[in-house]
């Protein structure tokens, strides 16, 4: 099961190590992780994309994260109404002749060219992971020289549907 889990943490030294170390120690598979500050001072947010076997493993993951002193809140937001986005930078082999062709490919993805050199250009794209992967597939035939992705970051939409089939992983289930 691929799940999106967010954790609100106190921004203290070593907190990333605590969290990733914990996930490694308990044999959880992290697909991506992104970290950054939030609107509140001293508070950061981590977004993990994890691959877990079953619900019990998932419950363990959220509970173990919650046990960390520096972790304030853990939510599995996979099944909720969320906005989720990732940024990728893709450097593609290109010359003057095919620059326009690439421009044509990336335009529907609302990606932009942010750097050009003699024999390459760099595309910046943001959005859902499927979209980014689709663009990467399209650019691959041109020759990708370098690729960097931030990993997914996400939070809940301002309004949640009234009757959502939300799964509750609290122990009060």
């Amino acid at each position: 099961m691929r799940r999106i889990v967010t954790a609100t943490v106190q921004n203290r030294s070593g907190v990333l190590n605590r969290v990733t170390g914990l996930l490694a120690k308990r044999q959880f598979n992290i697909e991506s992780i992104s970290v950054g500050r939030t609107e509140a001072e001293g508070i950061s947010k981590m977004t993990f994309v994890v691959d877990v076997e079953d619900e019990r493993k998932l419950e363990q993951l959220t509970k173990q994260l919650n046990k960390q002193i520096d972790v304030l809140k853990v939510s599995d937001i996979t099944d909720k109404a969320i906005v989720a986005s990732e940024l990728a930078l893709i450097r593609v082999v290109s010359n003057a002749q095919i620059r326009n062709e690439i421009q044509g490919i990336i335009e529907p993805f609302r990606a932009s060219i942010i750097d050009i050199s003699k024999d390459s250009l760099t595309v910046q794209v943001t959005g859902k992971q499927e979209k980014i992967e689709a663009l990467i597939d399209l650019l691959r035939p041109y020759g990708i020289k370098e690729l960097a992705r931030t990993g997914l970051t996400a939070f809940l939409r301002g309004q949640q549907p009234q009757v959502a089939e939300m799964k509750n992983y609290s122990i009060l289930k």
């Binding site: 943490v9 070593g14 914990l22 019990r56 919650n66 046990k67 002193i69 972790v71 122990i171 009060l172």
Partner: protein, 573 residues
């Protein structure tokens, strides 16, 4: 009790160094006993301790591992945090086994490690080790003090975190320049831990669910784990069990939480548990687990563990609930609060007479057993004798292995907090230093360290402490000249290929003890033991007793690895 001791260096006007602030903070926490070992990075702290006069009793173990195991023994018996100080680098890394041990067995320990000065951290300085990196996975929490102003708050947080909720070890790493830095303005000690709010009171709905299940159950069983010790809930456990005539079985760490000789007690369950206890877990229809984490040594193969039972689990740590065994009634709570709530709820007791009779029959038909030869000693008999000579009232500490299981099986405990053993991590060399800590915590009690000849050789340097402090610890070496449990497994599962498990070369333990000015004796026969052990155990001095037991004795009954809890071997024929 408020601590009156005022360190004589203290004055209102004089600015204080970080080390002074640490000493003040320890006095604030009512710390009286410190287990530690000095070194370069903690010189300022040891100077402040020296200047604090007799505010503390500092116990200088001869190896840092000895310090922390002693602190664990101290914490186990008192329920209060054990305090350890060690220097940077090797001082800190020598503590690792003890920190991991305390983590696995949920013991409140606060460790202060020195660190190199802030300016050279990360440069591979002399005696530098990444203590934060090393201890993060084996602590409940850890801190590196980055600024002097944080120190008093961090110490307060450390004690709070170590001793509340599910207890555990907390490490505070203090760079040397923080210890020497002087602050004119005393820093504040206010703290808030928004990410740490242990839930101690049970949810009434879940309590109701459990009492409803009890009203239905025909074959209920109570499993008492270490959480009963930590929650100081033995009396409530007994009242609850008696109120509903609930059979009680124990985990290794739960021994002593319920009187071993009580008619409702069916002994220890698990790999070397009693037949009755394991069958109670196998056949029950309602399992009420109080403060056990369903360790694999208890459950055996999970699919055969309580296969027909509704499982209720009371634990202060929500992450333990559902971790290993699917749980229908989760109760996140301190054990005492949960039992109090259960006692208040009037519930029609289930009719358990038939069930009790069945278990009672198992207990009579298949008791623990061994063959007793004419003159030679077997370890089971030895444990029984130690039990009877100490009237079952000693504090017993052990290492890990065969002797630990025999002590658990044959030293029937009646009271809580008198059983100090390394359960989760299974640390050889734990029992002897832990006994020193236990004796310091309970100076008027009889403390018996039951150790193996292998484990004792891992930490026996602490004999110095028996000599120095004249602690009347009784060390019983269950000497089978082998790493007994390893040898047993090699016999059973590796076709008797005894690879590196026979310790035929040994020191003369009697002379060894005598070289530390501790009384030593060797006992080789039953008659010898009956003549000499009673006096040795009764004396007010430390004694090391080298008991020569038969090497080939095995611990039974046993659930072989990978087998279910009902598939015991070595049950009384």
């Amino acid at each position: 009790m408020k601590v009156e001791a005022k360190p004589h260096y203290e004055s209102q006007t004089k600015p204080k160094s970080g080390a002074d602030l640490l000493v003040d903070a320890l006095i604030q926490e009512e710390v009286k006993t410190i287990f530690g070992y000095p070194g370069g990075a903690v010189l300022p702290i040891y100077d402040a301790l020296y200047r604090s006069g007799d505010a503390f009793h500092h116990v200088l173990a001869r190896h840092e591992q000895g310090s922390i195991h002693a602190a664990e023994g101290f914490a186990r018996v008192t329920g209060k945090p054990g305090v350890v100080i060690a220097t940077s680098g090797p001082g800190a890394t020598n503590l690792i086994t003890g920190i991991a041990d305390a983590m696995m067995d949920s013991l409140p320990i606060v460790v202060f490690t020195g660190q190199v000065a802030r300016g050279v951290i990360g440069t591979d300085a002399f005696q530098e080790a990444d203590v934060m990196g090393i201890t993060t996975p084996i602590t409940k929490h850890n801190y590196q003090v980055q600024s002097l102003a944080d120190l008093p708050r961090i110490v307060k947080e450390a004690f709070h975190i170590a001793s509340t909720g599910r207890p555990g070890p907390v490490v505070v790493d203090i760079p040397k320049d923080i210890s020497t830095e002087v602050d004119e303005n005393p820093p504040s000690v206010e703290f808030s831990l928004p990410g740490y709010q242990p839930n101690l009171k049970p949810n009434p709905l879940q309590i109701k669910k459990l009492t409803d299940a009890m009203a239905q159950a025909k074959k209920p069983v109570l499993l008492a784990g270490a959480g009963v010790h930590h929650g100081k809930a033995s009396e409530e456990l007994r009242a609850f069990a008696e109120q509903h005539s609930l059979p009680v079985v124990h985990t290794l760490h739960g021994l002593g939480t319920f009187p071993g000789s009580h008619s409702l007690s069916f002994g220890m369950a698990g790999m070397h548990g009693t037949y009755a206890a394991n069958m109670a877990l196998y056949e029950c229809d309602l399992l009420i687990n109080i403060g056990s984490r369903f360790d694999d040594r208890l459950t055996g193969k999970l699919e055969h563990f309580a296969p027909n039972a509704t499982v209720a689990h009371i634990d202060v740590d929500p992450a333990e609930i559902g971790k290993n065994v699917p749980t229908q009634i989760p109760i996140v709570s301190d054990s005492k609060a949960a039992l109090e709530a259960l006692l208040k709820n009037s519930v029609s007791s289930p009719s358990t007479e038939k069930w009790y009779k069945k278990l009672d029959n198992y207990r009579d038909e298949y008791p623990l057993w061994y063959n007793n030869p004419e003159t030679d000693m077997v370890p089971q008999w030895l444990m029984k004798k130690v039990h009877s000579y100490t009237k079952g009232d000693a504090i017993v500490t052990t290492d890990v292995g065969q002797h630990q299981m025999w002590a658990a099986q044959y030293y029937k405990l009646e009271k809580p907090n008198r059983w100090v053993t390394s359960g989760g991590l299974g640390t050889m060399g734990f029992g002897f230093p832990a006994a020193i800590g236990a004796q310091l915590a309970a100076p008027d009690d009889k403390v018996v360290a039951v150790v193996g000849d292998g484990g004792f050789q891992m930490t026996l340097q602490e004999l110095s402490l028996l000599q120095e402090l004249n602690l009347p610890v009784k060390v019983i070496i269950v000497n089978n000249q082998a790493l007994g449990m390893v040898r047993q497994w090699q016999e059973s599962f590796y076709e008797k290929r005894y690879s590196e498990s026979i310790l035929s070369t040994q020191p003369d333990f009697v002379k060894l003890a005598e070289s530390y000015n501790v009384k030593g004796m060797r006992i080789e026969s039953q008659q010898d033991l009956e003549e000499r052990l009673p006096d040795a155990l009764a004396s007010n001095e430390p004694v090391v007793v080298d008991c020569r037991v038969l090497q080939q004795e095995n611990v039974y009954p046993m659930i072989a690895p990978g087998k279910g809890i009902h598939e015991m071997i070595g049950v009384k024929p």
